[in-house]
Symmetry: C2
């Protein structure tokens, strides 16, 4: 049997509930495919702040570093919203990304035929949509310096952040994007704001230069405002999208919402070496936490991505993804994706349905 | 009769065609309502580059300064895309915004009942959508310094732009937004990325502080990624949105595309004093330029915004807007908004229909 050490970061809000389901599912597939998981649970986000005073305790980062992969649920909540920014749950997430050098964030937005009516867009516009957003995750305006709130000589405050990308940062995320689109539809759209931003001009140059190594990939460029528009106008035109940290944050959420069911979408954050982090695209949904109402499927699909990308267990990953499609086919729905004629279930019951497939 | 001096900036692509229609319409309403327009035409964008070597000749900025209002059509085209950024058509537009201190950009995204089927979103999701995006236009990452492409000691290039807002910049755009939402539904949503960016924290503080002066306006805050998502999920929740230059660029285009007919959307850019600039949201569409295919209605509606906001001629503005609704009601459609059973017309014929209302 294959042995893997997995760090679980349940975090806040609905995190612990959906994590429990994903772990149950992993245990079942482990048994079926001869994979042995050694799980360890660590604190992050608000839960870590409450217990230790900081959103990313050193012990957590160490645990992650000593793992084959990290499965994260969700962080944040109203409770911690008024803390200074370096002590907020989000700082734990950003610290994890930086600490593990997770520079590549893969966010699929795929319409499932069973859930197509959940989309606010017309069926003919979204049918077959299958987009992968490759977002740079450890650079850009999220981490650039100078940053802060400064007081000028006149006594007026100025808020400052810096969007910066170096040639090597652009090249390494570009490479992940070209390789990703090679395994998909062979079309890559790079998104920037090169008609206004210098950093985007360097970005466009870098991606264009790299494209010489990938003659079979059809590369295009869009300005970010136009990309936001095209996602709404005709999302089927997209296969793989590559973009910087901030634009990726915005566009991957817009793309996710096209599917109408953000409770279904997983993501992977990968570094050059070391463990990757796998987590749902949705947040911690504090309003329904602890009520057994959460949709655990994005968390389960994140575990599938972990099996595929981190543990190289494609057969087990397929089995998990098939099980998700099968419970949907059988009509099981949590509240967020409920529609008439379907069977409304809670988080735990959805988990039970999954492990009995 | 009232006398106004209007500078016309037809610019590039379809610009001259749609401007001609707007001028015809203005002449007709001028006659009807006793308004006398003195039009002067000036160069901007690619047209200016071709003639003078620069995208915003001094003569153009002077002409604009000496006007009561500026009516702009569109700038840019493939032809000038490979020029260095400070010599591209876009630099002319940014120069105009900075030169006239047009810090407030108003971008309405309103669904017209006649065109509701043009939206890619379901009828029940977009019916009644009426959003006004108030975008800060002379600050943020568009103008912040340092900016440029720098070479580090190791010889590696880094692209850098700076997102910066001062308290006074936030206050003055905030004030425009609160005043705007007062004249509308009384709901204001401020969009930022305060969970990551320092500049957004100052933004949120500034808008919150200002809200004390507007107790009747219901203020909310959204992170930009969530805002992009909510625009797709349930756009009717929005009344007025206020945000910075870059987020406004992205979100106003996404909001515009919800209507399905970006060829219909006008915008206004206003300063503290001096003339405002009124222009369609859409671009210069070089692919259909000179073919009498363009939709002139956004340009005509921009002229209506000019009548309303710059010239204080609400009756004339109403007449122009009513005429646009009436030609749609009569079934006239340009190619971009065509649907079965309607009368397909070109740019000029649409103009003729308008002035015969
Ligand atoms: C919580 C926040 C810091 C984070 C981000 O902006 O990256 C989230 O929006 C995401 O996309 O993972
Ligand atoms: C052409 C470009 C510089 C401009 C912008 O980014 O502001 C355009 O997208 C707009 O929104 O008016």
């Amino acid at each position: 049997t294959d042995n893997y050490r997995i760090t679980l970061l349940p975090g806040d809000g609905i995190g612990p509930e959906i994590m429990a389901v994903a772990v149950d599912v992993l245990k079942v597939v482990g048994k079926r495919f001869g994979i042995n998981f050694e799980f360890q649970t660590a604190l992050i986000g608000g839960a870590a702040i409450d217990e230790t005073g900081e959103p990313l305790p050193v012990a957590t980062l160490d645990a992650c570093r000593n793992s084959d992969a990290v499965l994260l649920a969700a962080i944040g909540g109203y409770k911690w919203d008024s803390l200074p920014s370096n002590l907020r749950p989000e700082a734990g997430l950003l610290g994890l990304r930086a600490g593990l050098e997770l520079f590549a964030n893969l966010r699929p937005a795929k319409i499932l035929p069973q859930l197509i009516d959940a989309s606010t867009l017309k069926r003919e516009v979204v049918e077959g949509v299958d987009i992968m957003v490759v977002r740079e995750l450890t650079g850009g305006i999220y981490f650039g310096k100078p940053k802060g709130i400064f007081t000028s000589e006149t006594g007026e405050k100025r808020g400052v952040n810096t969007m910066v990308y170096s040639e090597s940062e652009i090249e390494r995320i570009g490479r992940v994007a070209f390789e990703t689109s090679k395994k998909r539809g062979g079309k890559l759209c790079s998104v920037d704001k090169a008609n206004v931003l210098d950093v985007s001009q360097l970005w466009r140059e870098g991606i264009t230069k790299l494209s010489a190594e990938y003659p079979d990939i059809e590369l295009s460029h869009l300005y970010v405002d136009n990309a936001a528009m095209q996602l709404v106008r005709s999302p089927k035109q997209f296969d793989t999208i590559v973009t910087g940290n901030l634009f990726g944050d915005i566009l991957s959420d817009a793309a996710a919402m096209l599917t109408g069911s953000i409770g279904m979408l997983p993501s992977a954050s990968l570094g050059a070496s070391g463990p990757g982090v796998f987590e749902p695209v949705h947040g911690s949904a504090p309003d329904i936490a602890g009520q057994d109402k959460a949709n655990p499927l994005a968390q389960v699909l994140s575990a599938a991505m972990m099996l595929r990308y981190a543990l190289n267990q494609p057969t087990a990953a397929d089995a998990v993804e098939d099980a998700v499609l099968e419970v949907l086919q059988q009509g099981y729905r949590t509240g967020d994706i409920m529609s008439t004629g379907m069977k409304l279930v809670g988080c735990r019951a959805m988990g039970d349905a999954l492990i009995h497939i």
